[in-house]
Symmetry: C2
Subunit: 294 residues, 2 copies
């Protein structure tokens, strides 16, 4: 079924609001250390909380109450945030600005940002392995899957390949995006299903297809926004890809063809979850993210 725009926005705000409230409660112990400050600084920088929202939505679609999935949802935001901190470091992308604020290392120094990133990745696994709201088998299955998407065969491999700017064709750019951006999104969708106890391969494949299409469409939209958006809308300098002569979907396909691909991927994602997307939220979400303006 199709969800009304107002209902979609309402549910999205509810879910991201729950995530933000839970994030606010993290790392309140010994809050006087620079390490904790640095972790909270980057976590509180905002962002759309897409990954935790996806995990909550998939867990719920398969019958698990959202509050029982919250620790895993937060874990994905911690992993995402650590990857941004490390990506922004001088030895990586050397970005001084993130979401309109100074990057972590600009505020807390190189070593402070390095350790905050390490601690956030570690904390993600602390949350997942201390989760007692679901049977241990389900927690272990979800944590195992998520860790495989965030690691050397997933996101980190993507970061490593991206360093060499090795993607020169559409196929290579696709493969890279499925790793660097897509892997964690896959972790969120399939991880949410596993956490809810799903073991049926067809159901897990549906979540995976949705995630892959969303991840790719998301990256394609990113590439388009980098050339069409204003710096204010984007919260970071525009045209930075072109300036660095980086290969993007837009440089390879042009804007029009990229838009067509985004539409095709969005439809494939919607079809994949047709059997489980009872209230239409998953369909509305991929549509909104693929068509977003910032």
């Amino acid at each position: 079924m199709q969800m009304l725009k107002a209902d979609f926005e309402n549910k999205l705000n509810t879910l991201s609001g729950e995530v933000n409230a839970a994030l606010d409660r993290l790392f309140r112990e010994k809050c006087d250390t620079a390490l904790f400050d640095s972790m909270r600084y980057s976590l509180s920088a905002g962002g759309k909380r897409i990954r935790p929202v996806l995990l909550l939505a998939f867990a719920e679609a398969f019958g698990l109450e959202r509050e029982k999935a919250m620790d895993f949802a937060l874990s994905l935001e911690l992993i995402h945030t650590y990857s941004l901190i490390h990506d922004d470091l001088p030895c990586m992308d050397d970005d001084g600005l993130r979401r309109g604020r100074p990057s972590n290392h600009v505020v807390y120094g190189y070593a402070g940002a390095l350790l905050a990133g390490d601690a956030l990745l570690n904390a993600a696994f602390e949350l997942m392995t201390s989760c007692r709201t679901v049977p241990a088998e389900n927690a272990l299955a979800a944590a195992g899957y998520i860790s495989s998407t965030s690691g050397r065969l997933g996101m980190i491999l993507g970061q490593s390949l991206d360093l060499d700017d090795a993607a020169k064709t559409v196929e290579e750019r696709t493969e890279l995006s499925l790793l660097k951006t897509g892997a964690i999104i896959r972790g969120a969708c399939v991880g949410g299903a596993l956490l809810a106890g799903v073991r049926d391969q067809e159901m897990l494949s549906a979540a995976e297809t949705y995630a892959k299409c969303l991840g790719l469409a998301f990256q394609m939209r990113d590439d388009i926004l980098d050339v069409t958006s204003t710096a204010e809308e984007l919260g970071k300098p525009i045209g930075s890809d072109a300036e660095e002569d980086k290969t993007t979907f837009v440089s390879l396909l042009g804007i029009e063809k990229t838009e067509e691909e985004i539409n095709r991927l969005t439809q494939t994602a919607i079809n994949a979850v047709a059997g489980i997307d009872r209230d239409g939220f998953l369909s509305a979400l991929v549509t909104a993210l693929a068509g977003r303006k910032s």
Copy 2:
């Protein structure tokens, strides 16, 4: 009981040999990427494999076969290795030499070393959460405990505090050592017990006391070796602590008093595990590590 020196060395070599063989089998997928090379480079640099050996020994002491505990044992070496790679980075200790070989970033570059460290930490959790040789409850309990010792309240907090060289008294130096060096050793000992299904608080406390004493004695020996050893024995420049005017147990207590403390801690560790150390290996191990020459 007391173990004969030859029997101890025999068992130690057997355990570390099993660990090295299992480490050699890791990360053989897609072995042509720089990321995997970088991970294997630091893992194969040798070292005593103390942390995995401790986990295996504690798991075995509580009745779990060593091969069933191997994934968790390896995880500790991955965590230890990642922490060394990140510690050696220019923004941290800026060490160009590790175990007599160029540090990871000297060979693979700053970003390569950063990502190899990230990937090793992540891989540790991949191994732990994909372990199916023990009941899920035991895997989750051990992984949860280990992750708490390696994170923002354990090892990483220690690294963060050490950056400021904040430890100026024996008490502060003790607290710092229990975090930076001791936390993972605690993870190994208590983690091994939890993996074997131990939930008895007295047993877990025994493992914890042993680990804390070993961790402290180990650090004290490190501080002594830094002033008494030769560079060849140590595999790194000697006197580096004194050169950097760093506060150590030796600078605070002198060598003689530090030796006394090491003896006291060794005895406390031996007493703590009296009820579980059937073949005397744990007692011989803390004695050997606290008295080591390199």
